[in-house]
């Protein structure tokens, strides 16, 4: 199989972000890397259906997302151990305060419904527009906007409950939250 240099370069350029997305989908670095590898193989096998000059990252993200949906979901249910496995392979840096926050954040993120989580990540971290994200997820732009909003709200609730000391800016707000936010 011959790979055009521009295709090779654009695939390579997309890999770091594809991995980050894959990790956030399946919650495990090793499985995420397998997912990225399978995405590359699928992309190359179907490279004729890619139109040069169009959005290569969005095309690859679509393949990865659909592949995850069809193959990995079943397996994921068997490994719902969010706490332990998600951070595997990400422990290169010391456990500073910021990283402890980040671990809690990851755990909160993994509690979101998959539809909301992928929308939030594609828009909020991968840098895709709502339109691109809608294309990747195969749904309407309005649906993506609503999922992102719901993801933010839900995550805020999860993090506020788990982490009230850090997220509540002052005692008064904390008191309001403790009473149920009335």
């Amino acid at each position: 199989m011959a790979i055009d240099t521009p295709v090779r370069e654009s695939i390579l350029a997309a890999i770091p972000s594809l991995r980050a997305f894959a990790i956030s989908l399946c919650g495990n670095v090793d499985r995420a890397d397998d997912l990225v590898q399978e995405t590359m193989l699928r992309a190359l096998a179907n490279i004729d259906s890619f139109q040069p000059g169009t959005n290569m990252p969005a095309w690859l993200f679509t393949i990865l997302r659909n592949h995850f949906r069809s193959e990995y979901r079943k397996r994921r249910r068997e490994v719902e151990d969010v706490d332990g496995r998600y951070t595997e392979g990400l422990k290169s840096q010391p456990e500073q305060q910021g990283h402890i926050d980040l671990r809690e954040f990851r755990e909160g993120l993994m509690q979101l419904p998959e539809d909301q989580r992928e929308a939030l990540i594609l828009v909020g971290a991968s840098g895709f527009s709502y339109e691109e994200t809608a294309h990747i997820c195969g749904c309407a732009v309005g649906t993506i906007k609503s999922r992102v909003n719901r993801a933010r709200t839900r995550l805020a609730t999860i993090l506020a409950i788990d982490n009230i000391g850090e997220f509540g800016p002052d005692n008064e707000t904390r008191a309001v939250l403790a009473r149920g936010g009335e």
Binding site: A2, R19, L102, G124
Partner: protein, 60 residues
């Protein structure tokens, strides 16, 4: 980019909501960038090299 901000909720939670939103956005990018910073693991470069061996003679 078209980011239609939802109407801010009224009441005591409004400010907190915005604080949390900013924090969520920042944590999300930090988490994501931690992986992005790792670049391209060798296994992927090697895979492309193997698959594209035909037109990768003599390197670029």
């Amino acid at each position: 980019m078209t980011e239609a901000a939802p109407p801010a909720p009224k009441g005591p939670s409004a400010k907190l909501g915005r604080d949390i939103q900013a924090k969520i956005g920042q944590q999300l990018r930090t988490m994501y960038d931690e992986v992005v910073k790792q670049g391209v693991p060798d296994r992927f470069t090697e895979l492309l090299n193997q698959l594209g061996a035909g037109d990768q003679k003599g390197k670029r």
